[in-house]
Structure formats: C-alpha cells, structure tokens
Symmetry: C3
Subunit: 476 residues, 3 copies
Amino acid sequence: MASSRGFAGEISKATQRCLACHRAATPGIVADWEGSLHAGTSPREALAKPRDKSRLSSLQIPQSLSGTVVGCSECHTMNADHHQDTFDHNGFKIHVVISPPDCAVCHLTETDEYSGNIMSRAYGNLNDNPVYHNLVETSIGVQKYENGQLSVEKPDSLTGTDACNYCHGTIVEFEGVEKKQTPFGMMNLAKHSNWPNQGVGRINPDKSMGSCTSCHPRHQFSIEMARKPATCSECHKGPDVPAYPVYLVSKHGNIYSSMDKGWDFKAVPWVVGRDFNAPTCAVSHASQIRTERGEILAERTHQFNDRLPWRIFGLIYAHPHPLDPDTTKIRNKAGLPLPTELTGEPAFSYLITPQEQQKRLAIMKSVCSGCHSQQWIRGHFERFENTIKTTNDSTLTATNIMQDAWSKGLAKGVGQNDSLFNEALEKKWVESWLFYANSIRFSSAMMGADYGVFANGRWYMNKNIAEMADWLKVLK
Amino acid sequence: MASSRGFAGEISKATQRCLACHRAATPGIVADWEGSLHAGTSPREALAKPRDKSRLSSLQIPQSLSGTVVGCSECHTMNADHHQDTFDHNGFKIHVVISPPDCAVCHLTETDEYSGNIMSRAYGNLNDNPVYHNLVETSIGVQKYENGQLSVEKPDSLTGTDACNYCHGTIVEFEGVEKKQTPFGMMNLAKHSNWPNQGVGRINPDKSMGSCTSCHPRHQFSIEMARKPATCSECHKGPDVPAYPVYLVSKHGNIYSSMDKGWDFKAVPWVVGRDFNAPTCAVSHASQIRTERGEILAERTHQFNDRLPWRIFGLIYAHPHPLDPDTTKIRNKAGLPLPTELTGEPAFSYLITPQEQQKRLAIMKSVCSGCHSQQWIRGHFERFENTIKTTNDSTLTATNIMQDAWSKGLAKGVGQNDSLFNEALEKKWVESWLFYANSIRFSSAMMGADYGVFANGRWYMNKNIAEMADWLKVLK
Amino acid sequence: MASSRGFAGEISKATQRCLACHRAATPGIVADWEGSLHAGTSPREALAKPRDKSRLSSLQIPQSLSGTVVGCSECHTMNADHHQDTFDHNGFKIHVVISPPDCAVCHLTETDEYSGNIMSRAYGNLNDNPVYHNLVETSIGVQKYENGQLSVEKPDSLTGTDACNYCHGTIVEFEGVEKKQTPFGMMNLAKHSNWPNQGVGRINPDKSMGSCTSCHPRHQFSIEMARKPATCSECHKGPDVPAYPVYLVSKHGNIYSSMDKGWDFKAVPWVVGRDFNAPTCAVSHASQIRTERGEILAERTHQFNDRLPWRIFGLIYAHPHPLDPDTTKIRNKAGLPLPTELTGEPAFSYLITPQEQQKRLAIMKSVCSGCHSQQWIRGHFERFENTIKTTNDSTLTATNIMQDAWSKGLAKGVGQNDSLFNEALEKKWVESWLFYANSIRFSSAMMGADYGVFANGRWYMNKNIAEMADWLKVLK
C-alpha cells in the first residue's frame, strides 16, 4: 500500500493533473496505483536494471515516457490515434479501455507471447464456432414451457456478458461521449458497449484481443497477485475447469496453503527453494524458474500452453493442443469445427505434432526436476497419459449411448437438424466430458486426490453413464 | 493474543474473582478475552476518544461500569433482573446467555439497527411461516418407506437445532440449576434448552432476538474477525446462499485472497485504498467507508439490508426487500405467506417501494465509487437487474411445469392438500429457485464468473428444467 | 526457508557428499531440508532438551547418528539390510523409499501409535475386502456400452494408483536398478512399481505400512504443516469425507481462517489460548494440548481414532470404531466383511465397547473443556449422537428401497450374484450413505452449518431417497 513505499521517480505534469481530481473521485484506485511499481519507477530506471531483474521486456521506450513514472496519463493517452474511443476529457485526449498494444510499449515480449496464447482468442473461439455457440445458447438462454414442450430463447446480450463472456471477454465498442454534471463540474464521459469487462479474450475498441487486467488487476498490476493461484481461480474453478480446487487439495496446494507466508512472491528472478517451496499455477505455466545457482529450469512465457502437450478440458475428448490459437478454423472429417471426431480420433492436421508435444512436456518436466527425481517424474506422467486414455474411453461410452439415442430417434441431434445440447439426456452426455472427464484429468495432472474419484471424478462419470443407459431404456 | 498487548485499564474486583477460577476452568476463553479490546479499555477511556474512532455508540454508560475494563462480571451480571436465567454462581448473580440488550449498554446503535435487520427475525421467519416451516420439515425430517410409499416424520428438536436453526437460531430457555461436583468444589450450574447456539435470530431467555457472537465470536469480539469474509461464510456458503464461494471467485475476492496480508482490518475509521484494496462483505454491507480525505462513502449499519434493493435468495422469486423484518405478516393475493404470487408478481404492499430501492442502491453505488467510474457502476447494475429478470423468468418456467403436474394430478400440491415440497419432482422445482436462480444472481451481483454458468448456474437451471419436463412425460 | 536460519549442528561427511550433487540436481528439496529442524539439530542436542519440548520420542539413538544433523545420508542409508530396494548409488548403499521403521529410530512412539491407527491399514482395508474392492472396481473401472447393455472393465493398475490408492497407498516394490546418463555422469538409479506415492497406508518395499510424508511432506517435515488443516484436506475433502470443507464453514474454522496469522504453529508444547484460539484437526485429534498453567487436556497421539468413539464415514452405517486396525477380519452375521448388518445392527464383537467409546469421548470432551463449559459440551454431543441415530435411520430407509428392488428383481444384487454397486439405482443408494449421511454427521460433529442441510446434507438425503422411490416405480 501507499504508506509502505516512497516515490523514487518523478510524476509527469499530466498525471499530476489527473491525480488532482481522481484522488477525490476514485481514491481507491489512486491508492492502488500509489502502491504499485508503476508509481515508483520510471522506465529509464527499469531499463538500467540487469535484464534478469527488469520487469520491462521492450528494449527501447519512447523518450517522452522514459523519465517519469508510469501514471494515469502515460497509459490512458497512449496510442491515442489507434483507439476508437479516444475522447476529450478535461483537456486530455484519453481512452478508458487500455489494450495489450498499450502495455506492449514497455512489455512487448509478454504481449507478443500472449497473442499466441489460445486465451487471447477466447471470445471468438467460443462465439464464432457454431457448435460451441449452440452450447452457449442452450446453456444460458431462458427456457419456455408451452403445451408440454420446452424451447430455449436466444440469450440477450446482457446475459452473455454476465455469463460466459465474463471470462471469455466481450466486444467493447465506443458508443460516444455524454456530458454529465459531476462534483468537478460538467464533464465529457465515455460510453462503451458491454462494459465493464476484463475477460481474457476481450475485443477492445482498437480491435486488439485480450485484457492484461484479467490477471494483473488495476491499478496495482502486481506480480505478486499474478503469481498467486487465487487469481487464476477466477476463471479456473467451476466444474468445467476445476484447476484451482484440484490444486488446493493436492500436495503442492497444501504446501502452498500452509507455508506461503514465508514465500517471496515478488522476487525476480524467481528461485525454487529460496522464494517458494512448491509450484503454484505461475510456477508451472508461466514464470521463469531458476535455481539458486542460476540455472534456468524453464523460460518465462505468457503463452501459457507452451508447457502443455494436451488440451484436457472444454472439448469432448482430450487431444493434442491446437496448432493455431484461432480454433474456429478447425474442421474434423465430419466437417464439424471440432478438434476430434465424435469417436475421439484427433483432427491431426490442426493439432500439434507428437514432437511438439514431447518438447512441451520436456519443459514441464524440467520444472518438476527442481524437486523431483527422473523416476518420480516419469511415473507421474505415465499415469497422467493413461488417464487421458481412460477418460477418453469413458467419454466414448457416453457418446455411444448418445449416438444410440440419436440413431433411434429417442433424442434429436444433427440428423434431425436439432441442437446436440438441448435435451435432458444430451445435457447428461455433456456433463460426462465437460465436468467429469476433465475433473479426473486435472486430478491426475496435479495429484488432486478425490477429484479423481468422488469429487466430480470417476464415481460421477460412471454414475452418469449408468443413468444415461437407464434413461434410454425408459425413453424406449 | 494476550502476549501481544498490555492492560491499560483496571480489572474489577468481581471479574478478578471470575478469572481466579476460570483461568484454570476455561483457559482458552480467558486468553481470548485477554487479547480483546474489552480487556484493555474501560468504557470511560473509550468515551473519551473522538467519536469516529470510538467503538462505543452509547453516549452514556452507567457509572458503575465506566471505570474498569469490560470483563466477565461486567457482561454476565448485566441486566440481572431481565434475565430469566439469572442464578447464583459462587456468590454472583450471573447469566450464561448474553443477549443484545446486554451489549446495547455500550453498543446501542448497533443493537438498534440489528433489530431492524431481517436476520434478527431469522427464527420466526422460518419456523412461524407455515409454508417455510413445511419446507423445513420435509427437508430435514427422516423419511420412512413402507409398502412402496414414502412418508416423512416430523423432525425432532435436536435435529432442528443441528440443522436449520444452527444458523437461524434456537429458542433458548432456562431449565433451572443443577448442583455439580467440579474441580472447584460443589457448584450451581445452569441448564438451558437448545443450547449451545449462536444463530443470528436466537430467541434468548430474556425474549430478545439475536446473538452478537454470530459474527463477533467469544471472547475476542474482534472487529477484525467480523470484517473478514470467512465469518460471513458460516451461514452464507451452501448452495442455497452461496455468497462466500461466489465472492472468493470474483475479482474482488481474488484481490482479497491474494493481497490481504497488508490490509488493516482493525482501523476505525476504515479507509478505502489505505486500509483495504477491495471490498469484503463488511465493506459492501456494514462498515462505514471513508476516503483518505475524510469523505464518507457509506455510513455504518448493522441493518445489513440497508444497501440492498432486492432480496435475491431464499424465496421462489427475487423481489424488493420486505418492509418489515417480521416476514410472517406477509400475505400474497392467493393468501399464502409469500412475498410474491406463484407467478412471480410481487406482493407490493409488503415490500419496499421503488423509491426506497433507489435509495438503497445509491448507497451501494457510493461504495463502488471509491474505485469505479459511473459508467462502470451503471453497466454492472444494469446487468444485475437484467439477471434478476431472466432468473425470475426461468423460475416461472420451472413453476409452470410444476403447476402442470399439480393440475394433472401427476404430483400433489395445495389442491390436494399436500406439501409443495415432499415429492421428487417438487424437490427439483425447489432447486431451480433455491439453488440455481440465486447462484446466478449472486454471481451477477459480485461478478462471480462460473457461478453464473456451470457452478450451480444457468447450466444447472436449464438442465434441471429439462429433466423436470422429461420426468413429467414419464409420470404421464 | 534456508535464508532464515543458521546451522547449529554439524553435517555428516556422507550427507555433505549427497549435497554436493543434489544442490544442483534437486535444489528445491535441498532448500526444503535446509529450512527444516532436521538440518539444524543433531539427535544429541534434541535428546538434551526437556522431554516436553523435545521432538524425539526415542530415548536412545544409535551413537553413529547422534552427533550430526539429520541429513540425506542419515535417513536414506538407515536400516539398509531391511530395505529390499537398497542399491549402490555413487558409492552409497541407499534406498529411495523411507519407511516408518526408518523414522522410528528417532520417533518411536509416533510410529508405534500410527501402526495401531486404522489409516496405516488403508491399503488392505480397501483392496483386500471383497465388498469394498467391488465398490472400487465399479467406481473407477471404464464402462462399455454394447447392444444396449453396460458392463464395467477391471481398472488397470495405473488407474488404481491415480484414484483410490493415491490416498490409501500403493504397493511399492523394487524393480531393480537401471544405468542412466545424468549431468553427473553414468549412474545407477532405482526403479519402483507404483511410484510415486505417499498414501497413508502405503505398503513399502520393506513390507512396513504407512508413509510419514503423507502429513509431514518432504523435506521440511514441518510440525507447522502437519498442524494446519490444509494438510488433512488432501484426503479429507471430497463428498465421501468432507471433514475439511465442514471445518472451514464452522465457527472454529472461521476463527482459524480469520485469525491464524497470530498463532504459533511451531510451539511444543502447544498451549490453548496462548498458541491458538480455536481447534484445528491436529488440536482435536492428535496434538498434546496444554493449558498455560501446565495442565494436560489431552495426550499426544498418532493413533488418530484415540479420541473417536464412532466411525461416521465410509461405511453403510455409522458404528462404534473397529477394535482392530485391520478391518478385513470383520464378519457380520450375514457373513459379509462389514461392521454392521444391512439393517444397521453393529457387528459388536469386532467393535469397541461402550466403555471404550466413553473413554475416547472423555478425551475429546477434555479438549473442548479448554474453552467450553460442561453444559455446552454435553449439549453438543447429545445432538451429535442423535444425528448418528437419525442418519442411520435415513440410511435404513434408502436400504429398504434398495432391498425392495433387489427382492423384486428390479435390480440385481447379492441374490443374483451381482455387484451391489454397478446399477444406477444402486449408485443412488451408495450416495445416500457415502455422501449424504456422512456429510450430515461431519456437520453435526463440527457445527458445520449448511453441510447438515443443503450442502450435501439432509436436503440431498431426502431428495435422493424420493428419487430412488420414484425410480423404483418407473422400473416396475
């Protein structure tokens, strides 16, 4: 917080003007910023640090920015010409929605990496894929009951932003300026559609994709927060993607929960054993990991699937990661925009090769090697790959029941030109892969104990399949 | 803890007598008390503080109390004449169960506000409303299976105290004194019915309602604890009222979970940005919130619905808050003690007006304005109000299916003089509003991500309704 | 962490040799160890401490060990002759898998107590009991669907280690040595079956049972961690054994969550009020609990059921604890290896007596007496025992429905020489006792609020039974 640190750098005149009102108008975020590294360091000072301690990845910073700390004006007037939503606010040409290209001025590598990350495409990958989009509409639309029949209404846009797109991101567009009376006099204020939003694949008014504040929340932009698992939990906690609850119940998560008070979440570089004693999400998927002797176990990355050979959630079957972050391009043999057939066979030409999978796995294993022997690591991943196979087998069984229902007319699917997801039996089928198969895989990946068995694990998978089979008998 | 602070005030002779035995008899709570503000401050000292730093709200304290710290004897002999359970214990006229009127001697405003809070009526509102009471009995009574038929037994009183009334409160009555041999010799000890209990609507032996220790647990009575979300979680965590899990997964909750180590939970007044960087339950619903410049964004209240325009859980439909904390008085047009019709239409004359709703919303928005722009806040609440509407629509669909079942005799309801809640199909109907509609609303209110979709959100709502419709077909 | 403490003791020459490579090979665990008490104290120093402050329970330590700190070599060459997996590693006869007899050299009492604990038999009790083993196989095996019929495949051994045996323990056997090229040259490395594993009932290569690292994770072996509830949560969190989530939502758990920053988790002895203000799992079930005056409220135990009169989870009905930790010996009157009949009647001759139950309850009550009055404690346990009775009654109802189905041929059970657990209706029956009855009991035992009602509590119990009864009608 502000009180705990001084100001090493000079605040620009423009930012001083912002602060003059905003200390009163929005004191909380001003205090946030005052406690941030942005408020205490100028880019020039940051550039002067050794590369491995610097938080800047850009090697050159515009002269105009480098001498003062990074304040309100520095970011909110950045790239003014590229922002559709630039408007005149009390004499400044500002924009409300900071986009990755703004951050890239100082943090180029991170922004580049992130754009190769499937998360940056989270909006389009969900909404522009007709199969997933139908899953969305049948899941969040309001159903109506008339004459004994159910139908589902198209969800309105406020529901979209309140539901799936909260995490996936919304399309934020500028809707113009409105004049409002404020405690500081009459003022121009911006209007945006689908705002607020900080989803990982947000489409910004400058057409860029992503929102750095998903994980680096305003206005502290703290590396400590981004390294803590609670931050990831915001989107990775529900039954569809239970990474966080599985982590918490794992050995690693328990060491973190019990012992984190002595850890240093701010250290750059981040040293295993010295700064932390068990992996967090960031250790496994993002951070540069060093040993005390200076060996680099894994390079830093903001393309978070760089260490992931498999995609284990969200789709009907687990499969090698897609080649391209834009997954709307994928077509399986049946012509559907899915990375596997309904039988589980991968659409190989759209997915990374076994060689690339091995390369990614090798980086992950290198992170593990900070504490574990080769035998240990090999044993762990052998189990995980077996679990990918057995969960895909169980999903195939659920799909076979569903296909039986579709083929016998006991449910209406593609053949009847109907949604795959709108009937009760279909919703049970969805849960078999969207909730249970993936919980089991997360549990296997992180040693998450009961998530592999009773906590949405194999028990629920088998019960769900048994109920699907029974229900099919009743429908007959 | 005791070791971390000295004793500024004098301990009364009576309390010294208590401590002489109780340091041995119940050392844990003595240590709790020794670490409390009660043990270190006399009311006289507290009264001398500036009003905005004082924890006392009463302006006058009885002379006899004001000079010594607040110890065992001060509270447990307070208002002796009004306590049905006053008894002679080792020469003192004490009572075991401290009630809000005891606390009111020093904390009058808080006690008054709390009595206007719907929570203070939690016992009667649940148990004296025949509709809710039937929901209780069918939910917690033991079912019996005979000749292919199920019936449900009336729950015994121990089950009541162990279940719903744990949070809602029990009726605690004095059952007399028993003589017992103790390590300190033969002694009179009190007996109470339905004890222990610290439910928010506890009916005390002096007929008062509420238990301050629900949120301020003995014997630290710490403001720090009352301000932490875990305290609220005790009653607000399950699928019927998932406020706490939704909060944890929200952006605000993640900032709290990741960064709270630097926050000051004891500061009075409590300053946004200086003492905390994101709202907790107390910030949003209870505490006085100040800016560093001294502006008051919201006044302190112990009537926790003072900032809430809508009641979003526990009932069939979301609706404006009841006018009176005693909700047993409410009658809808159909004559049922419910705040809406079965169609969702509010029983307006028992509910707060749109003007009062706007007034409450304005206070909540003022809290948000500590960090957020007007555009942001408006966008957030627009979504929330839309979600109140869509979840009510989904609940109506579930209710229409249920009405269809009742009208066709496929389930037995009011028309058949039967419980609305005892059959399998009816229990699915209950889940549609008691679990799913409210999870979606909490998620919308707090930006709780997956609770709006997969974690008991819209996915479950739609699946549940689809299964209800299917089941109705089977019952035919 | 390493940086926070110096080295009081001398490191043996052998351990120095290990460290020379392992600081580079596995720096994380070396740093863990450097921060441990093992790295800072020699057994001789530990023996010289007052008994109540010493962490050693063995009164004699081999001369060869006593003068240096407890490092790599001290444990990994211990009892070399008894370890099937001893092999030559860079000139040392080491074994990878440390077993309880290794730890017993210094920690004899704890190891002895643990061997009397039912947890030490967790592997055999699950896998060598044909009824439970069938529950395992039907729960985690992959199901196949052919010609409208489901069948379940026997789970492969990797699935076993990834699921139930992750917590229960695996059979770890030595599979020989392999020569591998490493950064330190060609080296002998061990191979083990079913490795890694740290399950509580692990069968070690020396045939001993248990793994101390389940709760004292490598290589800090921190008493702080073992005393924190997150450690227990690794195995006690799912719907089958929700001890941890129930604790978190209890008053005690909330005090812990909110106030633990000021607690001392390392103090030996552990003093109520001074070191902690509310019970954790360790306080209730394991640690020696003292008052500040030196009174011992409960003796330390590693037989964690020493204070437990009842077994409340995992079996069809709650019942007095088994006499012998090896529960495979139990036979009920029907000849099944179950501690009760299918009607709930206990198999008394295999279970502890009412006298032993009272003795255990008295110890638990003594822990409570650190803070609570006798009236309070009595009221609490009266409720708990009533809840054991009512949950057993509800389980009997579910079982009666199931028996009706079996007797009428609507499901296939023992009479049809079929599994009790493989059909959809049977799986609902299992949930009534494996998920719901025990959640209610945990809630009652710990005042876990909504776990007794809506969070897998009485609501789900009653709904599940109502659905079973309805489903039976449909099957007819």
